[in-house]
Every structure is written in structure tokens, then in C-alpha cells.
């Protein structure tokens, strides 16, 4: 019976170890932040590098600025797109850098370089319906001065920010009154003619969709958020062609291109890869194929492999530690309280926080995810293992002792087999929790079923969300079923009901 337990453990471990890690050491790793525009721009870069003959992978929607920039600083990724405004006001806010040269110096201190601006500027702007603007002969913000016939509808955030509407009014001498409203509603207000002027982000997909005119900021009021690629400075030595390919994008992605691509992805629901490939084909005059999506089954298979690897590795590691911990907690009651308390506290850390805590220690990707899942699996296994051992009737424990069995033999031949059903239930709980929690790994670049869920949330695409959620639910059921079988196989016949 205990031999069977060993077989089951070995099998679990081999499954985990046999799943091949799929990162190629020589490949350039491009990442994107967790919003559509960033994913599209990185897809453009990936396809360009691929066309230049580089090995390249794209870690899509890795996270927010802090996570992705941190990953670049530590060398876990080689490049990602960001905005000069983000660098100035967010990443290096304390340094108060005003010109590109200053930014470049700051970046260089972190071993990072940046390309020339890609061409589009994603900042605040004012927009009107193109035909209305034309009819009223307005192309610049200065043209609005004195046009009291125009109704302004501005998002509440823009209306309230000190560097928003009040400052803009002062800078241009605008006297109009503005209504505050939800950003989504302002587009509709324009479309049905209840508003003439609204605030926008200059590359919003809706600008292309509603055919709006973004008014020229002729007094340079809005700070520039010019898109650039940030890349590891050492990439220039190790992969000069990759840097060249990134530079080749500079100056070619204009705001109208970006709006159009955002629209095709967000509103027409086309895959980022296909949209990026179309753009490059048009730009280069050569056919660029967006291979990317390997078909539904291929995608699900790849994510399944990633997901199961996360679960199997973390669970195996948890078993290796948690079972001995449970035994110590049982044999040494004065340590037991501390052990159970400690793993209990680990469980109270919110899953998302635990994942993020792991990043400074282990970077991004599978390693921090496995570590977080490992910590999460400890409690159910330790608690059930301890409960199973402590629940052995006193007369049986005494019988084992009275027979003169040495402590190890007592543990191996009597106590563990008797505690096994409870212990297995704990392992099953841990595995099912793990399958669910592993979807959060996508937030820090571990892939798995969380990837399409995150993308689906970003694009508001229910189909994509289901593409991750349904396999995750099925895997949880499969794990439950599998453990029921293992439980039947491992439970000694005398203990079966």
C-alpha cells in the first residue's frame, strides 16, 4: 500500500518534470503592458524581428508599468513599448526630466536604451465629429476661442484635474462652459449631435470608429506621451539586428494608424497578430503573415501544458514539505501549534498579493507563480495530514506502541496508512485550489489558462474569457476525478466504506 503511495508521488513528480520548459535562451523576449495598444505595438515588433530572422517571443499583457519596467530592468525581458510621458511623470517622476536626452541618461543608468519615437502620441486631446469640424472650419484648439455655439462634454477626470480643463482654458483663453460626464457616453453624445467637443486619448479606437477629428494642440499644452520602445542596452551587442528591427518601426506608426489598429482589435474583434501583420504588409509592401494563433485546439493544448506544469510542480513541492511538516506537528505538539499557525497565516495573504510579492524574489514568469502556488498548497495538506494523524484512535496508537514497533515503522506501517484518506482529501483540495489560483499566474507572465481570461477581460471578449475559463473548470473536475481514483487505489481495503 505504501509502495503504491510512492508510485503515485513518483508519477506526479515525473509528469511535472517531463513537461518541457519552452523558452529558448537565445530568443529575444518582447513584452507588452496589459492594454490593447501595447499588445498591438509589441506584436508589430515581434513580427518585424521575426521577418529580420530573429528568434523572438512576445509575452503578452505582462502587467502594469511597474511589473513590466521592473522585468526589463532585471533583464527578464529584452524590450517593451512605453510612452515618454510615462517615463517622465511615472517612472522617473522624482528626477523631473524634461528633454529626451535627460530621459536617455536616466534609462542608461538602469542599462536601458530607447528607440526614436514610433510616431504616435497617446495623450489627452480634444475631438469633434470630422464633418462638423470641417463645416465649422475648426482644425486647431485655438479655433475654438470665442465659439460659444459649441457644447463641451468632458470626462469628469479631465474636468477636475488641475492640469486638465482649468489649465487648458487658461492656456487657450477658452470661455465655454463644460458638462462633466462618463467618457463612454461622450462619444455617443457626439454621434447623436448633443455635443460638439469632447476630450479623448489621441489614439482611442472610437476616434476611428466614429470618424472624429482630433484638434491640433497648436500651443503644445498637452504633455507628450510619445510611444517608444525601451530595450536592454546590451541587446545592441548581443542582437544588433533586433535593435535595428525595433528602430525600423520608429516614425512609421502614426496616430491614425494606431487608432485604426486599436479599432480593428477592440471594436471589430480581430486578433492583434492579424492586425499587426496587415499593417506591416501595407508598410513594407511585402506579405507578412501573422502566424500567431495556432488554432483553438493548439492554443488550448499549449496553455494546458503550461497550466498543468504550474500545478504539478507546485503541488509536488508542497507535498515534499507539507507531509513532513504535518508529521512533525503531530509528533511534537509544542511545534504543532506554530506550524499550523504559520501555514494558516500564509493562506490569509490574498492570492494576488502573494503573486506580486514573489516578483522581487523570483522575477516574472513560471518561477514566482509556482512559488506562490506552493505556499498556497501548504495549508490544506499540512492541516489534513495533521488531522488525519491526530484522528487515529488512541487505542490503535497504543497498540502500535505496545507491539514494540520502532517510531519510523509505526509512522510508515500504521500511522500514515491510517491518516491517508484524510491526507489525500487535503491534497485534492490543494490541487483544485491550485488549478484555479494558477490562472492568476498570467498576471505575472506565467501563461496558462489565465492568459485568454485576462485578454478577454481587456478586450471585453466573452469568447476569449470562456476559452480560458472552461478548460480551467474542466481541469478542476478532471483533477477531482483523478484524485478520487487515486484515493480508491491507495486507500487500504480495510478502510474502504
Amino acid at each position: 500500500m505504501m509502495a503504491r503511495l510512492m508510485i503515485a508521488c513518483a508519477w506526479l513528480f515525473l509528469t511535472a518534470a517531463a513537461a518541457p520548459p519552452k523558452t529558448d535562451d537565445r530568443a529575444v523576449v518582447i513584452a507588452s503592458k496589459a492594454f490593447t495598444e501595447s499588445v498591438i505595438v509589441s506584436e508589430l515588433a515581434r513580427l518585424s524581428l521575426r521577418e529580420a530572422g530573429q528568434q523572438v517571443v512576445h509575452r503578452q499583457a505582462l502587467g502594469g508599468t511597474r511589473i513590466v519596467f521592473g522585468a526589463l530592468k532585471r533583464g527578464e525581458i529584452d524590450a517593451y513599448p512605453d510612452y515618454t510621458g510615462t517615463l517622465r511623470f511615472e517612472i522617473y517622476a522624482a528626477a523631473k526630466a524634461t528633454d529626451p536626452a535627460a530621459l536617455e541618461r536616466l534609462l542608461a543608468q538602469n542599462g536601458i536604451a530607447m528607440t526614436n519615437p514610433l510616431g504616435f502620441n497617446n495623450s489627452y486631446g480634444l475631438a469633434m465629429q470630422a464633418d462638423v469640424a470641417k463645416a465649422k472650419n475648426i482644425t486647431r484648439i485655438s479655433d475654438l476661442v470665442g465659439r460659444m455655439d459649441l457644447r463641451f462634454g468632458l470626462s469628469n477626470e479631465f474636468l477636475d484635474r488641475g492640469d486638465g480643463w482649468p489649465a487648458l482654458k487658461a492656456a487657450y483663453g477658452l470661455a465655454q462652459k463644460a458638462d462633466g460626464l462618463q467618457h463612454d457616453l461622450s462619444y455617443r453624445g457626439l454621434a447623436d449631435g448633443r455635443l460638439e467637443v469632447i476630450d479623448v486619448y489621441t489614439t482611442d479606437a472610437e476616434i476611428a470608429f466614429y470618424d472624429l477629428k482630433v484638434l491640433e494642440d497648436d500651443r503644445g499644452f498637452f504633455p507628450a506621451y510619445e510611444a517608444v520602445f525601451l530595450y536592454r542596452a546590451d541587446l545592441a551587442q548581443s542582437h544588433p539586428q533586433a535593435v535595428e528591427a525595433l528602430q525600423s518601426l520608429a516614425g512609421r506608426i502614426l496616430a491614425q494608424h494606431m487608432r485604426q489598429m486599436n479599432k480593428r482589435v477592440k471594436i471589430d474583434r480581430q486578433p492583434e497578430t492579424a492586425v499587426a501583420a496587415d499593417f506591416l504588409s501595407k508598410e513594407t509592401g511585402q506579405t507578412v503573415v501573422g502566424e500567431g494563433n495556432a488554432g483553438l485546439l493548439g492554443r488550448i493544448w499549449q496553455r494546458s501544458v503550461e497550466h498543468m506544469r504550474l500545478v504539478a510542480l507546485s503541488l509536488t513541492m508542497a507535498l515534499v514539505l507539507a507531509v513532513p511538516l504535518a508529521i512533525v506537528a503531530f509528533r511534537k505538539p509544542h511545534l504543532g501549534g506554530a506550524i499550523l499557525g504559520f501555514v494558516g497565516i500564509l493562506q490569509t495573504v490574498p492570492a494576488l498579493a502573494l503573486f506580486v510579492f514573489m516578483i522581487p524574489l523570483l522575477g516574472i514568469g513560471a518561477a514566482p507563480t509556482i512559488a506562490a502556488l506552493f505556499l498556497y498548497s501548504l495549508l490544506p495538506i499540512v492541516r489534513n495530514g495533521h488531522a488525519g494523524l491526530a484522528g487515529i484512535p488512541a487505542d490503535l496508537q497504543e497498540s502500535a506502541q505496545a507491539l514494540g514497533l520502532p517510531p519510523m515503522a509505526r509512522l510508515w506501517r500504521i500511522e500514515l496508512p491510517l491518516a491517508l484518506p484524510t491526507l489525500l482529501a487535503g491534497i485534492k483540495t490543494a490541487a483544485v485550489i491550485n488549478v484555479g489560483a494558477a490562472t492568476l499566474g498570467a498576471l505575472i507572465g506565467a501563461g496558462g489558462y489565465g492568459q485568454p481570461i485576462l485578454t478577454g477581460i481587456r478586450l471585453d471578449d466573452m469568447g476569449l474569457i470562456l476559452e480560458g475559463a472552461v478548460p480551467a473548470a474542466l481541469l478542476a473536475l478532471l483533477v477531482t476525478g483523478l484524485f478520487d481514483l487515486v484515493e480508491r487505489w491507495l486507500t487500504p481495503r480495510g478502510l474502504r466504506l
Binding site: 490503535l396 497498540s399 506502541q401 507491539l403 514494540g404 500504521i414 496508512p417 487500504p492
Partner: protein
């Protein structure tokens, strides 16, 4: 008692007592047990008889006093070999539910590396001794009757041919018919093997039937130590008479 006075001293207890917190469960008391004796520890619930047998089995360490086995203090002995030299049977058998009857019985022998043939021979021998059908040996404890479980438990206790057999209310949970049969079988086994037996029971008839020497305990103290007839004819104090009288109805047609 006289038949064994020439035998060597097996257990000797001096000032042995057991205290749990503020509660004294046993002693301090002195007691000597000779090799080959069959002795019953008897008394009402809470008198300390189970505590005493657990002290002898080495499952608990006495709070005070010394227990000697073959003249050596228990505290100086290696508990592993010591316990292997004792057979211990408890009320519900204490069989491990995840092992078949045979594997329960042979657990220690396998641990000690006995050969398969030796284990098998001993198993068959014991099954015959305790009147257990050999087909029962492949069963799990849950599939055995209460009486069969106690027979298996007895086999397990006897497997390593111990010097001493400790029985803690071994028949306490059985119904009267099976109990009667097992009492008879136990007496035959004791006579066949001639080993030292220490039996805890609250049933005077059973004590009288299975052992020549009866040690009566009350509130942790030794009240009387002697043969059954001594208890009936020369009770040490009114409690002994009361204890005997309480069971007289049963005894009227039997040992009396």
C-alpha cells in the same frame, strides 16, 4: 499461589504510584509477580487496575517508585525489545483496520525480518491454538466478529512467543455466549503455554476462572491479594465482602 513460589521473580514493584495533576490514580503500592503466575487485577471502575497494567506494559512511566523486570529497572531497559517480550491485548482488540488479520498478527515478525516460512508456520500454529479458522486470516478486521477479532488480537500478542501476556479487559465488549467460550479457550491456552498472565477484569467470576491469584484494588490502593477462596472466606475489610456480594448471584452456581 504455592505452586509458583519457587519460580523466579518476574516483576517487582516498590512504592509505585501514578499521579495525574492533582489526582492520584494509583499507589503507592508494592507488588511481586513470579514467572508462570496467572494473576487477575480486579476492582471497580477507577480503581487503578488499567493504570497498573499500562505501567507494566511500559506505555506510561510511573510518577514515583520503581518497577523491576527480572531485577532490572524498567527505566533502564530498551523499550523496543522489552515490549516485544510482552503480549498486549486490549478490550476492542486494537487491530489495525488497514491490515488483514494475518498481516496484523505478523506485523512485528515481518519488521524483525523473520523468514516467510517461519512466519507462515507460526501463523498456522497460532490459528489452531486460538481456534480461528484459517480462512479468516485473509479478512480485514471490519469483516470479523467481535470474538474473532479478540482471537486475532491474542494471536498478534503471542506471535513473538513473549514471556508475559497482558490482557486489559479482553472480553469486556463481548456478548455472554462468546465470552463464555473465549474464557474456556483462554484457560486452555494459558495452561498449554504456561506463560505469565496478568489479566485486568471487573468480573470476579472471570478472574476466579482464569487465575489463581487475585489482586483487588480500590481507589488506587491494593486491598487484598490472594486466592478466590481467601476473598470469600477471609475478606480483608468490609469493601471486599461488599464487592464479592455484589457478584454473588452469578457466582452462586459457578465457582462458589
Amino acid at each position: 499461589m504455592s505452586a509458583t513460589t519457587h519460580m523466579p521473580l518476574l516483576f517487582s514493584l516498590h512504592g509505585v504510584g501514578q499521579i495525574y495533576g492533582a489526582h492520584r490514580a494509583l499507589g503507592p503500592l508494592d507488588l511481586e509477580i513470579r514467572a508462570g503466575e496467572q494473576l487477575a487485577l480486579i476492582g471497580p471502575s477507577g480503581c487503578g487496575k488499567s493504570t497498573l497494567i499500562r505501567l507494566l506494559a511500559g506505555l506510561v512511566t510511573p510518577s514515583e517508585g520503581t518497577i523491576r523486570f527480572h531485577g532490572k529497572a524498567l527505566s533502564d531497559l530498551d523499550m523496543g525489545p522489552y515490549r516485544q517480550n510482552l503480549g498486549y491485548v486490549i478490550q476492542n482488540g486494537g487491530l489495525f483496520p488497514h491490515l488483514t488479520a494475518a498481516r496484523n498478527v505478523t506485523l512485528m515478525a515481518r519488521q524483525l525480518g523473520w523468514s516467510k516460512a517461519r512466519i507462515q508456520d507460526r501463523l498456522v500454529e497460532l490459528a489452531r491454538l486460538v481456534h480461528l479458522g484459517e480462512d479468516r486470516l485473509a479478512q480485514y478486521p471490519a469483516d470479523l466478529s467481535g470474538g474473532q477479532r479478540q482471537r486475532v488480537s491474542l494471536m498478534r500478542a503471542l506471535m513473538l512467543e513473549p514471556e508475559v501476556l497482558l490482557l486489559d479487559e479482553p472480553l469486556g465488549a463481548l456478548d455472554p455466549m462468546i465470552r463464555y467460550q473465549l474464557q474456556t479457550d483462554l484457560r486452555d491456552i494459558f495452561q498449554t503455554l504456561g506463560l505469565t498472565v496478568i489479566l485486568v477484569t471487573h468480573d470476579l467470576a472471570e478472574a476466579a476462572f482464569l487465575s489463581k491469584r487475585i489482586v483487588l484494588l480500590r481507589e488506587g490502593q491494593l486491598v487484598q491479594d490472594g486466592g478466590f477462596k481467601d476473598l470469600v472466606d477471609h475478606p480483608a475489610d468490609p469493601f471486599v465482602s461488599a464487592f464479592v456480594k455484589a457478584q454473588r448471584g452469578v457466582l452462586a452456581g459457578g465457582a462458589l
